[in-house]
C-alpha cells in the first residue's frame, strides 16, 4: 500500500511540470513558501493538505475557526490569511467590504467540475471571488422508533411547536438558523427584514422554548443523536449524513416549508501574502482526488459533481443516505443574504433572550 502511494506521488511529481505549463504556473516556483489556510474545524482530510505540501514543496499553516462572525472579527485584525472558507452570506459581506480579491481563472481551470447545485450562486454568480467547498441544507434528524416518517414529514418545522416532544428535543444554538426555521414555518422569507415578521418569528421561538423546553447545543448534537439520546434535533445535513450512517433508527427530514441552502466556499482575502499559491491550492482542493478524500472523511456534500455522484451512487460511502446530497432546486429553499447591520446585532440579542427565558 505504502509503495503504491509512493508510486502515485512520484508519478504526479513527474507529470506535474507538463500539467503546470498549461495552467499558468510553474509547480516548482513555490518551493519553500508558506500558505496560510483558515477553515472550519473538522472540515478536511489532513492527508490532503500534507499531499499538497509534498507536491509543491510548501508549508501549509492550517488553522480553524468556529463561526462566520468570529471570522469576520478576525478579518479586521492584522493577520493575513491566504485562503479562508466563509459561508455564502459572509462572502457577500466580505465582497461588499472590498476584503476579497478576484480569483485567477488561468490557474483555477476546473470550475466545470462544480456540481449543479452550487453553480451560479446569487452571492457570486460567476465565481469571480469564490469556489464552493462543501454545501448543505438544514433539517431535522429524528428517531423513527419514536416519530414516524409520515408524522415528521407532515409537520416539518412545526415539530418544533409540538409539545408532545417536550424534553426530547435538541435545538442548535445559532440565532440565524433559529430565526430561519421560525420564518419558514410562518411562510416568510428567511431574509426578511420586516419588523412585524421578525417579531412573529420571535414569538414562534418563545413558544418553542416554553412548550418544548429544548436543549440548546452546538456540535455535541452529532454524537448525542448518533447515540439516540433524544427524539429529534435541528442538524446540518452534512452532520446528519454522519448520524444516519452511525445509527440506522435515525432519519432526515428536509421540511416541506423550505429550508436554507448553505455553501462554504474558498476565497482569497485582499491582503493575502501569497495569492498565487492560494489560487493553486483552491484548484487542488476542487479537483476530484482532494474532493473525494475530504467528503469521505467529513461527510459533507462535495462541491465536485463527480464526487457527489459517486459517493451517493451504488457502492459509494453514502449510498441510500438521505442526508448526504442536499436538496437542490426546491422553490421554497433559499440562501442567506447578508442582513443589514441592525439585524445582525438584533437577532442574536433576541435569540439569547429566547434561550434564557
Amino acid at each position: 500500500m505504502k509503495k503504491m502511494i509512493l508510486l502515485a506521488v512520484t508519478l504526479m511529481l513527474a507529470l506535474m511540470p507538463l500539467a503546470g505549463m498549461a495552467e499558468g504556473f510553474d509547480p516548482e516556483e513555490f518551493r519553500g513558501e508558506t500558505l496560510n489556510v483558515y477553515n472550519w474545524g473538522e472540515y478536511v482530510d489532513m492527508s490532503v493538505i500534507r499531499e499538497f505540501e509534498k507536491i509543491y514543496g510548501v508549508r501549509v499553516n492550517y488553522k480553524t475557526f468556529e463561526s462566520n462572525e468570529y471570522l469576520w472579527l478576525q478579518m479586521s485584525s492584522e493577520d493575513a490569511w491566504d485562503v479562508i472558507v466563509p459561508s455564502d452570506y459572509m462572502i457577500e459581506r466580505l465582497i461588499a467590504a472590498g476584503k476579497l480579491q478576484p480569483l485567477d481563472k488561468k490557474i483555477i481551470t476546473n470550475l466545470d467540475e462544480l456540481a449543479e447545485g452550487v453553480r451560479n450562486l446569487p452571492y457570486d454568480p460567476d465565481n469571480t471571488y469564490s469556489v464552493p467547498y462543501f454545501w448543505q441544507t438544514v433539517g431535522i434528524v429524528y428517531d423513527t422508533t419514536k416519530i414516524s416518517e409520515e408524522e415528521m414529514e407532515a409537520q416539518g418545522w412545526d415539530a418544533f411547536q409540538n409539545a408532545a416532544y417536550a424534553g426530547h428535543t435538541y435545538m442548535y444554538d445559532s440565532s440565524r438558523d433559529a430565526f430561519m426555521i421560525a420564518e419558514k414555518a410562518l411562510g416568510y422569507s428567511m431574509n426578511t427584514t420586516d419588523e412585524a415578521e421578525i417579531n412573529a418569528a420571535y414569538e414562534w421561538l418563545r413558544n418553542m422554548h416554553a412548550s418544548l423546553k429544548p436543549s440548546y447545543v452546538t456540535d455535541e448534537v452529532i454524537d448525542s443523536m448518533a447515540e439516540g439520546l433524544k427524539w429529534m434535533a435541528l442538524v446540518y445535513s452534512g452532520d446528519a449524513a454522519y448520524i444516519l450512517s452511525e445509527n440506522e433508527d435515525m432519519a432526515y427530514c428536509a421540511p416541506s416549508q423550505g429550508t436554507n441552502i448553505a455553501v462554504d466556499a474558498m476565497v482569497i482575502p485582499a491582503n493575502a501574502k501569497n495569492p498565487k499559491l492560494a489560487n493553486v491550492f483552491i484548484k487542488y482542493m476542487l479537483d476530484y482526488d482532494a474532493s473525494l478524500a475530504d467528503s469521505e472523511e467529513v461527510g459533507y456534500a462535495s462541491a465536485n459533481a463527480q464526487v457527489l455522484a459517486e459517493l451517493s451512487g451504488p457502492g459509494g460511502d453514502y449510498e441510500g443516505n438521505a442526508a448526504y446530497v442536499p436538496r437542490a432546486g426546491y422553490e421554497k429553499d433559499e440562501m442567506y443574504v447578508d442582513l443589514p447591520a441592525n439585524w445582525q446585532a438584533k437577532m442574536p440579542d433576541l435569540w439569547a433572550k429566547v434561550m434564557a427565558e
Binding site: 463561526s67 447545543v217 440579542d349
Partner: protein, 259 residues
C-alpha cells in the same frame, strides 16, 4: 531599596499592558454606544439600563449567582469534614492525602467535565443535579486545602486546654476548632464562589444546554452579535459583583479575626 523597586518594572509594564489597558477598554465600551461600526465617544448609561431593566437578563444573573452559591455551600459541607479528617491524620499521611486531593487538578478541566458527561449520561436525573456534581467536583479541592491549612495551623494545646476545662469533643470543636478555622473557610469561599459565578463551561456541558449563564451572555454579545458595548457592560456588572463579594468576604475575615 530603590534598585529593588526597579526590578518590578517588567511586572508593572505587564499589568499596565494586559490588565489595566483592557479594563480601561471595557470601561470605555461599556459607557459608549457605537453606531454602524464607528465608535462615538458619547457618555451613555444606556447599556446598563438595558441590562438592568430586562427581567430575562436579571434572571440569567440570578441563575449564575444561585449556582455559584449552592456550589460553595456544598463545597463547605463536604469539604469541612474532609479537611478535619485529613488534619487529624499523622503528618506523613497528611502529605499523601493532600497530594491525592490535588491530583485531579493536574488534568485539564474540560477533559474532566467531558468524562463526567459520559458518566452522568447513563443516569436519569435532573440536569441541575448533574451541573452541581460537576461544579462541586471541580472546586472541592480548593475548599478542602484552604480549610485544611487553617486547621493544621491550629495550636493543639488549645484543644488540650479545652478538654482540661471539661469540654467534650463536640463542645471543643464548636468553641475552638470551628471559630479558628473560619479564615480558612473564607479564603475557600473566595477561591470557589468567584470562579463559580463566571464559570459557564461546566453548566453548558453538563446541563444539557438548559442553562444560559452570564458568561454565555458575554460570549454571545462579543462574538455573535458583535455588540461590544453591551458585552462590556455585562462584563462590568459581573466585575462589580466580584469586587463587592471580595470586599464583603474580606470584611468578614477581619471582623472574625478581631472578635
Amino acid at each position: 531599596m530603590k534598585s529593588f523597586f526597579r526590578m518590578s518594572y517588567p511586572y508593572i509594564l505587564w499589568i499596565a499592558l494586559f490588565i489595566v489597558a483592557p479594563m480601561f477598554m471595557i470601561l470605555l465600551y461599556a459607557f459608549t454606544r457605537s453606531s454602524s461600526g464607528a465608535i462615538t465617544f458619547k457618555f451613555t448609561l444606556e447599556n446598563f439600563s438595558r441590562f438592568l431593566s430586562d427581567p430575562t437578563f436579571l434572571k440569567v444573573l440570578w441563575t449564575s449567582l444561585r449556582i455559584a452559591f449552592i456550589t460553595t455551600v456544598c463545597c463547605i459541607l463536604i469539604g469541612y469534614p474532609a479537611a478535619l479528617f485529613i488534619a487529624n491524620l499523622p503528618e506523613k499521611r497528611q502529605t499523601l492525602m493532600t497530594l491525592l486531593l490535588t491530583l485531579p487538578m493536574w488534568i485539564n478541566m474540560l477533559l474532566k467535565t467531558y468524562a463526567w458527561r459520559g458518566i452522568l449520561m447513563n443516569f436519569e436525573m435532573e440536569s441541575e443535579i448533574k451541573v452541581f456534581i460537576g461544579m462541586v467536583y471541580d472546586f472541592l479541592p480548593y475548599m478542602i486545602i484552604q480549610i485544611h491549612t487553617a486547621i493544621a495551623k491550629l495550636d493543639r494545646e488549645l484543644l488540650t486546654a479545652a478538654y482540661d476545662l471539661g469540654a467534650n469533643k463536640w463542645k471543643s470543636f464548636l468553641k475552638v476548632t470551628l471559630p479558628l478555622s473560619v479564615p480558612g473557610i473564607i479564603s475557600g469561599i473566595t477561591l470557589v464562589f468567584l470562579p463559580a459565578v463566571s464559570s459557564f463551561v461546566i453548566p453548558k456541558l453538563l446541563g444539557g444546554g438548559n442553562y444560559v449563564l452570564i458568561g454565555n451572555l458575554i460570549e454571545t454579545y462579543f462574538l455573535v452579535a458583535g455588540d461590544w458595548n453591551f458585552g462590556s457592560a455585562i462584563s462590568l456588572v459581573m466585575a462589580l459583583i466580584i469586587i463587592v463579594s471580595m470586599y464583603l468576604t474580606k470584611k468578614l475575615d477581619t471582623s472574625t479575626e478581631e472578635g
